[in-house]
């Protein structure tokens, strides 16, 4: 395997950014049914940064499980989850934020998709990651902004 997670060690480093005080803490995020209305940071997401987070194996590594046609220059898109092409036609920005923050709230408890901004994860997390989320609040906003660009051609 390990192409999936080659950057596991690096992720530890990247994932250890200190949370910004004005960010909504992972334990304070409010779900309204299947969406999160409020931005986690108040700073608009940057879709270009979001695309990098999607592809980076140490960050979102979303391509491990999802194909995304506009990112076809990246090698090896997985198919554990559905293709994200046209995802902005299927879900609102608020719903996409909720999916990225904690997919278990939107799909089922059984989903294999990790919760990217939650502390409600598996047992025995690596010591240096305890209490840390996979993505920062701003990275979630960036990813949501990028997902918003994934519309089916008219």
């Amino acid at each position: 395997m390990h192409r999936f997670f080659v950057c596991a060690v690096m992720a530890g480093v990247l994932g250890s950014q200190v949370a910004i005080a004005s960010d909504i803490a992972p334990t304070d995020v409010k779900f309204e049914d299947t969406s999160i209305g409020q931005s986690l940071t108040g700073v608009p997401g940057n879709p270009e940064e979001g695309a990098k987070v999607l592809a980076n194996r140490g960050l979102g590594n979303c391509l491990a499980c999802h194909a995304v046609t506009p990112l076809e220059s990246e090698q090896f898109h997985g198919n554990v989850g559905p293709s994200l092409d046209g995802v902005a036609d299927r879900w609102s920005a608020e719903e996409l934020r909720a999916i990225v923050v904690n997919a278990k709230h939107i799909f089922t408890e059984q989903t294999v998709m990790p919760a990217f901004y939650s502390l409600d994860y598996g047992i025995n997390p690596r010591k240096d990651l305890e209490g840390k989320t996979i993505l920062t609040a701003q990275q979630v906003e960036d990813v949501v902004a990028y997902l918003g660009t994934l519309k089916e051609p008219e």
């Binding site: 554990v80 994860y121 598996g122």
Partner: protein
């Protein structure tokens, strides 16, 4: 589009024979199994990897078998004995033995795998030091002994001692999500079996080929090394090799592969 997405891929429809020995790569699952059919990891690998395993002259894992044979015949320890001093010709005395580990160890009151059995013979019979986890000799001897069961269907006896309660514990662990990424063994090897995670075609995570030769690392990989690697990839702390957790997992995962032939040394990517 030209997108390099690998489509959902079924395990291949191919059959395996090694040195004239037919290898069972698909078997009817035992009762209570989540799948109807248990499938060898061989069916999920690329054609080239499959071909390398099928040809024991090309299989680099056979070097580990040869090394194991050398150690088998080498005197070590205070008692002045080799494995062969007591067990003679492994092709007779160890035939099919490896297909039925782990077994119950009444004295230790827990299951033992081949590695622990080898260490037991070294300390109790030979007056030698036990091997440290993944010492070259441990992997080579384990590979050599397992290879004497090539083609034999895996089966373990859950009625011995408290094997059943270790199976129960192993099952619980198999479905427990670990680490920051929150995956259980089942997330990948049951729910996502047959799919691609990045470039990796997910198999059922069977252990009938262990120790296996891996192209990625260019060497042999023991079972507990693989378990630890899979757990590390959930971004969790890794349990120690031969810990109660990993022994319970070995009992349960071995049972999940009941009926598959031993393929040691299997070739994986």
């Amino acid at each position: 589009s030209s997108l390099a997405v690998v489509a959902y891929a079924d395990p291949v429809d191919d059959s395996l024979e090694i040195d004239g020995t037919p290898i069972i790569t698909r078997a009817k699952a035992p009762e209570g199994h989540p799948f109807d059919e248990v499938l060898s990891g061989w069916l999920f690998r690329e054609a080239e990897t499959r071909a390398t395993e099928a040809d024991s002259f090309a299989n680099p894992g056979m070097l580990s078998v040869e090394r194991g044979e050398e150690i088998w015949n080498t005197v070590e320890g205070a008692a002045g004995k080799s494995c062969a001093s007591c067990h003679n010709d492994a092709s007779e005395t160890m035939k099919d033995v490896g297909a039925h580990f782990p077994k119950w160890d009444a004295a230790a009151n827990k299951p033992k795998n081949l590695e622990l059995q080898i260490n037991h013979c070294r300390t109790e019979q030979m007056g030698a030091e036990p091997y440290k986890f993944d010492a070259e000799g441990q992997v080579a001897l384990t590979t050599y002994i397992k290879h004497q069961s090539l083609g034999t269907p895996v089966s373990i006896d859950l009625k011995e001692g408290e094997m059943q309660s270790w199976w129960d514990k192993g099952k619980e662990l198999y479905y427990t999500r670990t680490g920051q990424l929150d995956f259980s063994c089942a997330s990948c090897h049951e729910q996502s079996m047959g799919k691609y995670i990045r470039a990796d075609h997910l198999s059922q995570g069977q252990n009938n080929g262990f120790p296996t030769y891996r192209f990625n690392t260019g060497g042999m990989v023991s079972l507990h090394n693989r378990f630890r690697g899979c757990i590390r990839d959930t971004r969790a702390e890794m349990p120690a090799a031969f810990s109660d957790e990993l022994m319970a997992l070995e009992v349960y995962v071995t049972w999940r592969g009941t009926g598959l032939s031993v393929e040691t040394p299997a070739v994986r990517q």
